[in-house]
Structures are given as C-alpha cells and as structure tokens.
Amino acid sequence: MGAARHRDEAEPDVLASGREGPGVRERWDALPALLRRGVLGSAALALLAAGGYAVAGQPGPPATPHAAPSASSEPQDTGASLHPPHPQHPAQAARITFRGIELGDRRRRTFTIGLHAAATSPLRLTRVRQNYEGLRVGLASPGPVSVRPGGAKHVEVTAKITSCDRLPLRARSPFLDVTLSNEMGPFELSVIPGERYTRALTHAFRTLCGPSVADSPENP
C-alpha cells in the first residue's frame, strides 16, 4: 500500500461520511428557511409514524442481548442490526442457545438435546453434529429447520451413545457444530453452550453408561 493516501477512493458512507465536497448539512443550510421547516415537520411526522409502527405492529425482535442498542452506533445506525437490508452471514444472523437435555431410552442409550434457535435474517438449520467418537448426534426433524426473524424455533437434537469407552466424561467445553444456511451459503458454526450444557451432558453420559445399564444387551 505504501505511504500514498487513497483520498481519491470513495469513502465508506458510514464510517467516514464526511467528504471534501458539500455534505448534507451544507446543502441543508443552503435551503430556504421555510422549506427547511417543512422538511423538518415531515421528518418528525415520519419518525412518529415509524415509532407507532414499532409499538403496534412490528414483529418482536429476536432474543439477542443487542436487540435494542441504547447508544447510537457508528458503523451501522441504531436498529440496523434488527432488520438488515441484506442477508447477514449465517454465523452473525443466528442466535442458538441450549435449553436442556432429556434422557430417553436407557437401554438404547439415547437422549435429546433441546436448542432454541432465533435469527436476525431468515436461515435454515440443516445439520447438527458433535464430533465425539462414542456419540451419534443429529436433527430430530426429517428436514431442515427454517428460522425467521421474530419466529424463534425449538430445535430437537437426538443423540445416541455408541461407545461408552469413547466418551469424554469431564470435558470442560463440549460444543455442537450446527450447519446454517442462507443466501450466502452454508456455514458451520460451533455452538459452545457453556457450563450448563457441560453438566447436563456429563450427567447424561454418566447415567446412560452407568453400572445399572452396563449389562444391557445393547451395551456396546
């Protein structure tokens, strides 16, 4: 790149919106006062209407801690992340959280993992895996799960222990690899749910591989 400055390049419209030529404010100042008052009035009405829409009719935002930014944002304006004009990268659009584990058939050593999937732009959840040698994991539903903004879904994942000897019983950060897909293509995201998942998974492993089921005919 060298020392030459690239001032001739178009500057990004958000991070550095000020330009050398007359900006919006300069053009605004050049307008007659009457016209400016009219535009201001219309803008205020439009804002109130937008606010009313937000209160009355807008679908609920996805469950994200950043759903309502309190400070104005720089690279994007407030609210832009809620309804982006273009599909977001699947990894950015998805919010997947762990709900719980339910033990299933003890003899067959099965259990289900409950997930909560929300999205800021439409996407499909096509595959779930956990790469342990002694465990087989997959989506309970026959096809992909579609998730839309404001329409969070419960996702059920089935798991079957295939070899008790090949399970890590004390791993600290187990994770699920979730394949997400939208117009930008498929993307595999590791979802590391944290301590609650770790404890629940360890409990499931210990219970289903414990001595009470050790002599079952299906013991691997």
Binding site: E11, W28, R36, A43, G51, G60, H66, P75, E195
Partner: protein, 413 residues
C-alpha cells in the same frame, strides 16, 4: 414485550431528535452543545509500537486513530473534539504502568485504549482504577483481568470496575482448540510449550486441561524464553518425543522461529496456538514451515461481518502504512466505546460534560457499562465483569502462506 416496544419508540424518536438537532445547529455556529463551548478530550492509547510485537501495536494505534477521526468528522459528540495520544509500552509491563501513570496525570485524558499484552494490562489496571479512569483493551485475553484469579474454580470476581475489553478471554480458546485437534483432526499426542508469561502460561494450561480430559496424551512439556530466537534445544526434544502436534502458549515473535526450528528438527505435525500467533508476521517469520499451523483468535473472521467490510474499506482509504492486523477491528470498537460513553455522559448532563475531569472520568467509567453499539467486530457491549458480550472465536490454518478461517464458534461462559 411492552417495555421493549417503548424502548424502540424512545430510540427511534431519540435518533430522530439527534438528526434534527444536528441539522439545526449548523446555523448558530456553536460547536459545543447548549453552552457553545468546544472541548478537546484526549483518548490515551497504550500498545507495543516498537519491538517484536509492533505489527500488532501499530494496527491497534491506526485503528484507534481511525475511530477518533471518524468521531471528529461526524461530530459524534457535539462540542467535543477527540485527540489520540499514543504511548509505546514495547510489550513491557513496567512501561505500560509508566504510561498509565502519565495518562492519569494528564487532565485532558478521559480514558485509555490498550494494551495488547495481558501482563502489561495487569500492571496498568490498578493505576487507572485509582484514578477512576476507564481502560478498554482490544486484545487482553487473560481471564483473570476481568474475572479474578479464582475464575477457573468458578468463583468469578471482577477486580476493577474501570477495566473493560472488546476481545474475548482465552478461557475458551484453549479448550476449543483442544476439542478441534482431538475430535476433528484426530491428533491425540501433543507437546505443550509456553513462554512463562501470563498469557502464554494461561492459554497452554487451559488447552492442556481440556486435551487431557478428552483423552489426549501430553508427551512432553517445556518453557521457552520469548526473548530468545534459538530454540534448537527444545526443538530437538520435541522431535524426539514424536508428538502429533505442538501447542504453544505464547506470541508469534518466539512462536514462529520455534515452529520453524521444530519442523526442521523433525516435527511432522502442526504448531497450534492462540491469538498471538494469528498474525501475518508469524507466516513471514516461519515461512514455509508455517504451512498447516493453526491459531485460534477472538471474534469471527472479518469477512463474515458487514460492519468489518466498511472498516476495512475506511482503513484502506485512510492510507495507513501498516495493516490493521489481528486487533484493529477491536481497537476501533474499544475507542468507539469510549466515545460512546463520553456521549452518554454529555447527554445525561444536558449536552455538557462536567467541568471537573475527575468527575467526567468517573461518569464515563460508569457509562461504559451500558454502552452498546454495532461495531466492527459485531454487537459491542459489556457484561458484569467488563468482558465483551460478543463471545465468538475462530480457528485459522495457514494455507498457501495465509491464515484461512477453518472454524468459528460462539460461546456462553
């Protein structure tokens, strides 16, 4: 739900009010909110601007500079002009502490961005906390900085209310890499090396702990002096132990020659490490022997973030000589977080900052806890420990001389 809807309404109207105010204030030629005063506030920056880690430090400095320039251009805080003052810590804790002392003694400094190294961060935290001045690191990853020394046992306690960071901790980096190497790469024997520093030692320990719990075998351990460049003795020990791979807890200036020498000595597998290996400098130093090596790093790959694309374009347009490197986006966000906190304080005080700088600093540190915005690295905000709420991390493998993303995860801690 009602509460949220009202918040949306408030936000929409507030955003609109700001736009209208900005349009209307031009005519009266006042640059300073309701009082008409213009105030210059300095944001301090501490990073290694010279020495082995200067590539990362310069990227941090330039990115913070871009944030300051953007805020000034856009008049993000009416009546306030920001200035960046960068000091070099050369990666040394003592220098970092001296710089922190300089910043707090300067009555124009409102907050500080930095540092890069966790051990430098440790040496600065107390100085800033005593002065009630906010410090936002774009790169410190040692968990104890925010969660206290007993974090591993689950007893998390925030040591300093004034310390925040936009990068994620390395509490997950080590275990994530361990899971990947053991379960996906199916490599089960590792040789673990660290540089005895806060960051390197901690990272190697979290990796080793998880790898062993998964069933992996540690065939050898060692420490290196990161000031050295000759690691042949360790490299020969590694080759003799025949591990499937090496995990190195440390930074690229030592990590790269170590990888190069270990492979020359006979190591067949990759060298794996944390975010301090995620630098183009690593590839430059280890050359062909960096191929296949893996580094974890904070956040999602920048190419997956629309906001980051805007940042990359702006950075290029600004004409900085050196790249933004691994922490540039996080430094931009750290600086922007301080600017947003200043803005929140001004708004709370009817558009005017308190006359007393100590009071301003305290209010800015308090406001930082609630700062939220869509930044370069994604949604920026802080949890009760001062850690970023954007908890993502990625693994990169060197392919054809370039770090290429191979896996991204999102976590809850």
């Amino acid at each position: 739900m009602r509460h949220r809807s009202l918040l949306i309404l408030t936000t929409a109207v507030a955003a609109g009010s700001l736009t209208l105010t900005a349009c209307g204030s031009r005519g009266d030629n006042s640059g300073g909110g309701s009082s008409g005063d213009t105030k210059t506030l300095t944001i301090g920056l501490d990073a290694p601007l010279t020495g082995d880690l200067s590539a990362l430090g310069q990227g941090i400095k330039n990115s913070a500079d871009l944030a300051v320039k953007t805020a000034n251009k856009k008049k993000t805080v009416e009546g306030v002009t920001f200035k960046l003052e960068a000091l070099d810590d050369a990666g040394q804790p003592a220098s970092g502490q001296t710089n922190a002392t300089k910043f707090v003694a300067d009555q124009k400094v409102v907050g500080a961005v930095g540092p890069l190294n966790s051990n430098v961060g440790q040496s600065m935290q107390k100085v800033f906390d005593k002065a009630g001045m906010v410090e936002v690191s774009p790169a410190n990853t040692a968990p104890e900085l925010t969660q206290g020394t007993a974090w591993r046992s689950g007893k998390k306690e925030r040591p300093f209310k004034t310390y925040f960071r936009t990068s994620t901790t390395d509490a997950i980096q080590g275990p994530y890499a361990a899971q990947y190497m053991y379960n996906e790469k199916k490599l089960k024997k590792v040789y673990v090396i660290d540089d005895k520093k806060t960051y390197g030692k901690g990272l190697a320990a979290t990796f080793r702990d998880e790898f062993e719990k998964l069933g992996g075998k540690v065939v050898g351990t060692d420490h290196v002096d990161p000031k050295e460049k000759d690691f042949n003795a360790v490299a020969n020990k590694v080759a003799k132990a025949k591990p499937d791979f090496v995990y190195y807890g440390g930074e690229y200036p030592a990590g790269a020659p170590l990888a190069d020498q270990a492979k020359k000595a006979g190591l067949k597998g990759p060298v794996v490490g944390g975010d301090a290996l995620f630098s183009a400098e690593y590839v430059k130093l280890a050359k062909k022997n960096s191929e296949g090596d893996i580094a974890s790093s904070v956040g999602a790959p920048l190419e997956s973030l629309d906001s980051a694309k805007t940042f990359m374009k702006a950075y290029k347009a600004a004409g900085y000589k050196l790249p933004y490197e691994a922490y540039g986006g996080y430094a931009y966000d750290a600086t922007w977080a301080i600017i947003q906190a200043v803005k929140a304080v001004a708004e709370k005080n009817d558009g005017k900052l308190p006359g007393d700088m100590n009071e301003t600093r305290e209010q800015v540190a308090e406001a930082m806890q609630d700062v939220k915005f869509d930044g370069v690295s994604g949604a920026v905000g802080f949890d009760e420990y001062g850690d970023t709420t954007n908890k993502q991390l990625s693994l990169y493998e060197v392919k054809d001389g370039k770090h290429t993303p191979v896996k991204t995860g999102t976590f809850k801690d």
